[in-house]
């Protein structure tokens, strides 16, 4: 019996690997356990949703921030326009509670704990996966709401180039080149996007409703990825260099009589190099080493910010991070496995608003060790139970240490295409440098935030249908929030308690020509401090209901038409949920067309998007208007070298 279940587990791993190699044919490919191959039952240990390369191409999205907005459990706080900040919140937690991982390296900036997903173009991304729930034991600090994993695109076309135009002065260009020689392969891909960002919106000012244009919304984003890999029989080596730059306006809220930050500019430069060495082969025990260097410079200036002095604001921040991750070979028997991992991160930051009088410099060394273990057992001939757990310890040079853990249980019957899962987990987030040291705001007294979550879910997987349903409860303690010191000055302290609970649904049906994907999230996210008058109120900027439905139709083999409707429920901007502070629900409808016309040896590419077709006027963040109706058209060609 034990041998049988061990074979099932081995089969599962092998099948998962096969699925991963098949890429587009199967969407859900990460660490599944398959009990019976013919039924292809796949149940993740934790709630998970993914977007593969093909889906990213189909979506009317140019950045990751736009692409993930309709995934279960996700709320993207979008400040509007190409250059507007876009951060991801999961399960009602804040954006700093989402860990963003790029090719195995955490991207969250030590300064504020955030990642601006509006700065990562979808054209350079191969795969997106979102794991929901408190996952620090597996992914480290910050994974209170969950994890967003990104894999950079590995160019497969010998050459491709696509250029485009769009509304509000949009211009875009993307390209990729790939070449293999012997055991080496090298590829480079780039993406350039520009928009004037002067989209119109309606605005009521001094009792008159007017249609005005967004000002200072222009943005120029440039990104590139260089990848080199070297494959030997027992060692695989790769080096990925991801660089990006952006120059953009940073407009603030549109207010009666004033537009905040009307002259504010923000320039970013980021260079990330990730080296990876794997010893052994897939079927053997192997070590994996990752090493990353990252430099991130940001320059913010606002000549009109007179509260900062006669010449306004001129702030520079420069971060330098070093990361190393070692994953030891998995120890395996027929029923259990153990996978140890260790990592070290060094984050440094220089900024002219930090630690006044103490060098304007902050640094943090983090050492972490984790062990993941799994055990599976065939209860009888019809049911398999799998248990996975993780335990992790982290030591920080500036904020002490933390221990986190998680436990996941999966149940898989053989006779029905349904599986169940249950999990619990703990997480934490250390204070960011801003929360510790930022002038007039930070406090060295703040402690790490803590969380605990429970998840119950089920998956139904058929030949044409997949359905995932999850219910969750998430408690966040010691949340670091800004509290007023005076009417104009705020400072952080551990004052927040939040209780989030809800349900998430993902439905995916397809046949040869049609595909329908629907997702929905219901979340009740409330303040949980019984002594506060806000107890039981919905946390600000957390919609109770978010939903999406997408219908794809493949006309001939070369043409795909996609329509997508997205719903964003009511959000409150006041903690007492006063009716006057409610932001109305928003419904947007997008239409996209993708054509790939083979003309040997080329494939001609045509991409057209019509966004927000019905010109919905809305804001996700109050007074940061979103674009109304707009369009985008791109043409280009791919050359596969006769492959």
């Amino acid at each position: 019996m034990r041998t049988w279940s061990g074979q099932v587990l081995a089969l599962a791993i092998a099948t998962a690997h096969l699925f991963a190699q098949r890429g587009d044919s199967v969407r859900y490919v990460f660490r599944p356990v398959v009990v019976e191959d013919s039924l292809r039952r796949v149940v993740y240990a934790v709630p998970r949703a993914e977007l593969n390369r093909n889906e990213l191409v189909q979506l009317p999205a140019t950045t990751v921030g736009d692409a993930v907005q309709a995934m279960p459990g996700v709320f993207v706080r979008n400040y509007g326009g190409l250059g507007g900040l876009k951060t991801v919140s999961l399960r009602g937690a804040s954006a700093t509670h989402t860990v963003v991982v790029l090719d195995g390296i955490r991207l969250n900036v030590a300064a504020n704990g955030l990642v601006d997903l509006g700065q990562i173009p979808t054209s350079l991304v191969e795969h997106v996966a979102i794991e929901r729930g408190s996952r620090s034991a597996a992914w480290g600090a910050g994974a209170i709401g969950g994890v967003l994993e990104l894999s950079l695109h590995r160019a497969t076309n010998e050459a491709a180039i696509v250029g485009g135009i769009g509304a509000f002065g949009e211009r875009s260009l993307r390209f990729e080149l790939a070449h293999g020689f012997g055991r080496h392969s090298i590829s480079v891909a780039g993406d350039l996007q520009y928009s004037r960002g002067n989209y119109p919106f309606t605005f009521s000012e001094f009792g008159t409703v007017r249609r005005v244009e967004r000002t200072n919304g222009d943005a120029l984003l440039g990104s590139a990825v260089l990848q080199w890999s070297w494959q030997l029989p027992s060692v695989a080596t790769s080096l990925v260099v991801f660089g990006r730059t952006s120059e953009r306006g940073a407009p603030g809220a549109v207010l009666q009589g004033a537009i905040e930050n009307a002259a504010a500019r923000l320039d970013d430069r980021e260079l990330l190099a990730i080296g990876r060495v794997e010893t052994g082969t897939e079927s053997q025990r192997r070590w994996t080493f990752r090493f990353a260097l990252r430099r991130f410079d940001q320059h913010y200036r606002d000549s009109l910010a007179r509260f900062r002095g006669p010449s306004g604001a001129d702030d520079r921040f420069s971060a330098f991070d070093v990361a190393s991750v070692i994953e030891a070979p998995r120890l395996r028997s027929s029923e259990w496995w153990i996978a140890p991992k260790a990592e070290a991160y060094l984050n440094t930051l220089r900024g002219n608003l930090y630690r006044i009088g103490a060098g304007s410099y902050a640094e943090r060394l983090q050492l972490g060790a984790a062990i993941e273990a799994g055990w599976s057992h065939l209860l009888d001939s019809a049911q398999l139970v799998a248990v996975e757990s993780a335990l992790r310890g982290d030591r920080y040079s500036d904020v002490g240490s933390a221990v986190t853990g998680s436990l996941q249980l999966r149940w898989l019957p053989r006779t029905f295409p349904v599986g169940g899962r249950a999990s619990i987990g703990t997480s934490y987030r250390p204070p960011s440098f801003n929360e510790l040291y930022y002038q007039n705001f930070g406090s060295t007294d703040v402690r790490p935030e803590r969380s605990f979550d429970v998840n119950l879910g089920a998956s139904l997987v058929g030949s044409t249908l997949r359905c995932d349903l999850d219910a969750f409860a998430l408690w966040i303690r010691d949340q670091i929030i800004a509290v007023p010191r005076s009417a104009i000055t705020w400072s952080v302290q551990n004052a927040g308690r939040v209780f989030s609970r809800g349900a998430e649904l993902l439905l995916d049906w397809r046949d040869d020509r049609w595909r329908m994907v629907a997702s929905g999230t219901y979340q009740r996210v409330t303040y949980d401090d019984r002594s506060s008058f806000t107890y039981g109120r919905q946390v600000i900027y957390t919609p109770e209901l978010v939903g999406m439905a997408r219908l794809e139709h493949r006309l001939w083999d070369a043409v795909v038409v996609t329509g997508q409707v997205t719903y964003l429920g009511t959000r409150y901007t006041q903690t007492d949920n006063a009716p006057s502070s409610a932001l109305d629900p928003a419904v947007t409808f997008d239409l996209s067309l993708r054509v790939g016309l083979p003309m040997e040896p080329l494939v001609l590419v045509l991409e057209a998007d019509a966004l927000n077709l019905f010109d919905a006027q809305y804001a996700i963040v109050r007074n940061f208007p979103m674009p109304g109706r707009s369009w985008r058209l791109r043409v280009g060609a791919r050359w596969n070298g006769g492959a």
């Binding site: 001094f206 009792g207 809220a253 207010l255 009666q256 901007t573």
Partner: protein, 363 residues
């Protein structure tokens, strides 16, 4: 002719009916006769970036509260972003809406907007005082000075540069005293930061600067106008720096006394005593109101306890009965409260108001 008159009468009647049916028609509120100081017009600052400053009208006699009185009286119009002060001239209240760069003038009987001064450039109106029917003075914060306006015509007259980040202002005779705060850390190194500019309103020139202290924010005059009091605030980057109050002779400009202590703002002079919040940095809030009997040679402040669980953001005295009208901003992100206290701090009544109440006038 008679038929013509009849038609006119019918048309007029129809217009009357139609206008009564119109959804956006507002009924002119009937001014109600109220005793003096029984109505409070509360200025709610709102939250940064939210455009949700508002005016709450509280009738202490009837208990009626109009949460967003300005919006209700002006067809839903917003007051704007970050309101900070209010001053009265007869039946007109002038409200400074700082980020929106306006002084909104309203009729205090109806709430209707009767005019607006729109500033441009860096000038953002903050504290306001009405000197006479034709002279009003307002600080312009980022405009680094004051603006002089005519309250009768509701027109801007001129601006005068005084120093970095002007906040408080009071006028005595022909002179305006203007607090150049320097916004604490942010502009403390600039010339005249932390001083009080003495402005001759006839020549419109700064005649001298009085040293006050870092981040000087609020000014009040004694009832007889002979003493000037200035509140300067803690510099956040210097944990050991203290804040305090300075007393000047308003005629000779000589500094008379200085009290260094962790008091908060909302400086008031009432019936011979000076009042200010007793700020507790441990809870980022005030726990008491301090009373300084400045008629004494040696001043030992006494405390008026504030209700627990409040985030005091300002107070005024009701001159009719001596009660304290306290503003509770709660968490500054929700509707606040107006709490009426006895002179000893006992809670008498509570009313809801808008977000972050900071000032009020009683009439």
């Amino acid at each position: 002719m008679r038929l013509h008159h009849l038609r006119l009468l019918v048309v007029a009647a129809m217009l009357l009916v139609l206008s009564a049916c119109g959804s956006n028609t507002t009924t002119e509120p009937t001014p109600e006769p109220t005793p003096a100081d029984s109505v409070a017009l509360v200025v709610n600052q709102g939250t940064f970036g939210q455009d949700n400053a508002s005016l709450t009208r509280i009738n202490f006699r009837t208990g009626a509260v109009d949460l967003d009185w300005f919006g209700a009286a002006n067809n839903g119009q917003k007051l704007g972003a970050i309101a900070n002060d209010v001053a009265l001239k007869g039946d007109t209240a002038f409200i400074t809406v700082t980020t929106s760069k306006t002084i909104e003038a309203i009729n205090i009987r109806t709430g209707k907007s009767v005019g607006r001064i729109q500033f441009t450039g860096q000038s953002e109106p903050w504290r306001i005082t009405i000197v006479s029917p034709t002279l009003g003075v307002v600080t312009t914060t980022n405009g680094d000075g004051i603006a002089i306006f005519d309250p009768t015509t509701i027109q801007l007259v001129t601006t005068i540069t005084t120093g970095p980040a002007t906040e408080g202002v009071v006028v005595r005779g022909n002179y305006a005293f203007v607090a150049n705060s320097g916004f604490g850390d942010l502009r403390q190194g600039e010339p005249h930061a932390g001083t009080i500019a003495v402005v001759n309103l006839t020549t419109r020139q700064v005649e001298r600067y009085l040293n006050a202290g870092p981040n000087v924010r609020e000014l009040v005059l004694s009832d007889d106008g002979k003493r000037l009091y200035a509140f300067y605030q803690h510099i956040y980057s210097q944990p050991d720096s203290l804040q305090g109050i300075v007393e000047y002779d308003a005629e000779t400009y000589q500094e008379l006394r200085r009290w260094r202590l962790r008091c908060g703002g909302s400086l008031q002079f009432y019936r011979g005593s000076l009042y200010a919040f007793d700020y507790d940095p441990a809870i980022y809030s005030a726990k008491n109101i301090l009373r300084f009997d400045v008629s004494q040679q040696t001043v030992n402040p006494t405390s008026i306890p504030l209700p627990t669980g409040t985030t005091p953001s300002g107070f005024v005295f009701n001159r009719r009965d001596g009660s304290i009208v306290l503003f509770d901003a709660r968490d500054y992100q929700s509707n606040g409260r107006v709490i009426v206290l006895s002179s000893s701090g006992q809670v008498l009544r509570e009313y809801e108001c808008g977000v972050a109440p900071v000032r009020a006038v009683l009439y």
